[in-house]
């Protein structure tokens, strides 16, 4: 199995979820993160004093998939998350040794 982690723009999350559902993925875990990258941050002004916000809000999406599905899932996420503007984010894939569904104790692909 593989764990696919994607850092995406927050407003594409719904689209990514739908795309994954579309190709048969049954579960996703998402969380709020902040990203620092080429996109850069922005400046705010409070009571006349400027300050910089370096980290921009991003969403992290994690999907555990069968090795065979990994590429398909990566493509699906990339397609759904692409706006073409800087800051669209990254996807990376890490190997997973074991997976368990807590409720049933099922392991491996059955756990997905």
């Amino acid at each position: 199995m593989e764990l696919i982690t994607a850092i995406v723009k927050p407003h594409v999350l719904d689209g990514v979820k739908d795309a994954l559902k579309g190709i048969g993925v049954q579960g996703i875990t998402a969380s709020e993160v902040k990203g620092f990258g080429r996109q850069g941050g922005h400046t705010e002004t409070y009571r006349g004093t400027e300050y910089t916000i370096d980290f921009v809000p991003k969403m992290k999406v994690e999907v555990l998939v069968d090795d065979l599905d990994a590429d398909k899932v990566v493509e699906a996420i990339a397609a759904a998350a692409r706006t073409g503007k800087i800051g669209d984010g990254k996807i990376w894939v890490t190997p997973v040794g074991r997976a368990v569904r807590i409720r049933t104790g099922e392991e491996g692909l059955d756990a997905l």
């Binding site: 407003h11 902040k34 922005h42 705010e44 002004t45 409070y46 916000i53 370096d54 980290f55 809000p57």
Partner: protein, 463 residues
């Protein structure tokens, strides 16, 4: 006792024979008696209660919209009062109550010139204070309906326009002794269901229409989507403040300390209560849940619905006015939402629609004379026939037409010049950062990564 109309009549009487300037200098009594002083003190405290409503409006609007534009909505409420009071002092008060001009438009006494105003029942200062608080109310109603997408600069200009011009003209027609108060059966709007609330509500309608709905309010299928407000506690606190303020608004409109004050307060209380209960039950039946924001709207609906008739209706009439207002507000909010009028706070329904209903309710339930409603039992259900109801309908319609046209023109003019709506990018990001420089909540409340850096952890981290 009911001096309002007397004053108004005098005003217009004089105005129509063309008298002006010095002749107007009714000095305040040199040795005022305690009753005269009490009248002024009473209206002073009533005005303070009405001014407090600004806080209520700000909270209700802030609570029913999203956190990312919360500073903007608070700022609008601060500014429409500030700019509004100045505009009203400079010209609005004169357009409404000025010694010259005519039945449609007052003139003279600009900049609160004391020579221009009669002080025989209240001093100019007391009178202005109370009226200015009303003007600020009419202005501030609009900000909620236009929330989350209007340029701050544009709103600033609009609030000048409504307090300097649109609202005063309508006041002139009625409390300024103009044509509505001179109809055969005079128009009955004791404290301003139409004159104040509908003015705000219809301007809000035009604002919402011309702006269009917020991004994401309607799905690709055209169906409305819920955009939950960010703080129900703010909404309910705001409603409690408005409720309190209304005891300045309605009883204060008596413009004299007398025994009617208590009666008016009780009709106000009853309508507020029935409005809240009725709206709660209505939305409960329709959606399966006693929605809190809707209950809050319901109390306001009850209050708006009794504002015109708080003096002319008895307790039973107040109950009906409030109860029906509470039902109407729910139906109206849902109807407008379906019709793609995106009014995040329900301002059009609460103030516009229920303002109209409250005004018509006088034609149905009026049983006491109140200084405007001239006879007892003028309401249809009390055997008064259709006379009062007809007048009420005329007033509702006239104000609707004037306000929608005038405010529509103002909004179009602003759109054509400084622009009315923020960019899509800004709307998504929220108005606070791009319009005002910084978010309305610090990074330690709506957490951002900076919490770590500047806000620092709240918990003693054994650094």
């Amino acid at each position: 006792m009911r001096r309002k109309l007397v004053v108004a009549a005098t005003l217009v009487g004089l105005a129509t024979v063309g008298m002006a300037g010095p002749a107007w200098a009714f000095d305040r009594p040199a040795e005022p008696d305690t009753q005269y002083i009490l009248d002024n003190i009473f209206v002073f405290f009533a005005a303070v209660l009405v001014l407090f409503m600004q806080a209520g409006f700000a909270l209700v609007e802030a609570g029913l919209t999203r956190a990312k534009s919360v500073a903007n909505i608070m700022m609008k409420n601060l500014m429409d009062m500030s700019a509004g009071v100045l505009a009203f002092a400079a010209v609005g008060f004169s357009i409404a109550y000025g010694p010259e001009g005519n039945s449609f438009f007052g003139l003279g006494g600009w900049f609160l010139d004391p020579a221009g105003f009669d002080e025989s029942s209240l001093t100019l200062a007391t009178n202005f204070l109370f009226q200015a608080a009303f003007a600020a109310t009419a202005a501030t109603i609009v900000s909620g309906a236009m929330a989350e997408r209007t340029k701050f600069k544009a709103y600033f200009l609009y609030s000048f326009a409504i307090t300097a011009f649109i609202y005063p003209v309508v006041v002139r027609w009625m409390w300024g002794g103009g044509w509505l108060s001179q109809l055969e059966v005079p128009f009955g709007d004791f404290a301003g269901s139409t004159i104040v609330h509908s003015v705000g509500g219809w301007a809000a309608l035009m604002g919402a229409l011309i702006l269009g709905p917020r991004l994401g309010k309607y799905g690709a299928d055209g169906k409305p989507r819920a955009i939950p407000g960010h703080s129900i506690p703010f909404v309910v606190l705001g409603v409690f403040i408005l409720f309190i303020g209304w005891f300045g608004f309605n009883p204060g409109s008596e413009l004299a300390a007398d025994l009617a004050v208590g009666d008016i307060a009780v009709t106000t209380l009853i309508a507020a209560a029935t409005g809240a209960v009725a709206a709660t039950l209505t939305i409960w039946v329709r959606s399966g849940y006693p929605d809190v924001g809707m209950a809050a709207n319901g109390m306001l609906a009850g209050l708006v619905s009794i504002t015109a008739g708080c003096g002319a209706l008895d307790n039973w009439g107040a109950m009906w006015a409030g109860l029906i207002g509470g039902v109407i507000v729910v139906l109206s909010v849902q109807l407008l939402e379906r019709r793609r009028v995106d009014d995040p706070v329900g301002a059009v329904s609460v103030h516009g629609v229920c303002g109209a209903w409250g005004t018509l309710a006088v034609g149905l339930f009026a049983t006491k004379a109140d200084g405007f409603v001239a006879t007892e039992d003028a309401g249809l259900f009390y055997g008064g026939g259709l006379g009062q109801l007809g007048t009420q309908a005329i007033g509702v319609l006239a104000v609707f037409l004037f306000v929608t046209i005038a405010s529509g023109l103002v909004f179009l003019l602003i759109r054509a010049t400084v622009g009315l709506r923020v960019s899509e990018e800004e709307e998504i990001a929220g108005l606070d950062v791009l319009e005002h420089g910084a978010p309305g909540y610090g990074p330690d409340v709506v957490p951002t990564m900076d919490t770590a850096v500047r806000g620092a952890p709240r918990v003693p981290a054994k650094v």
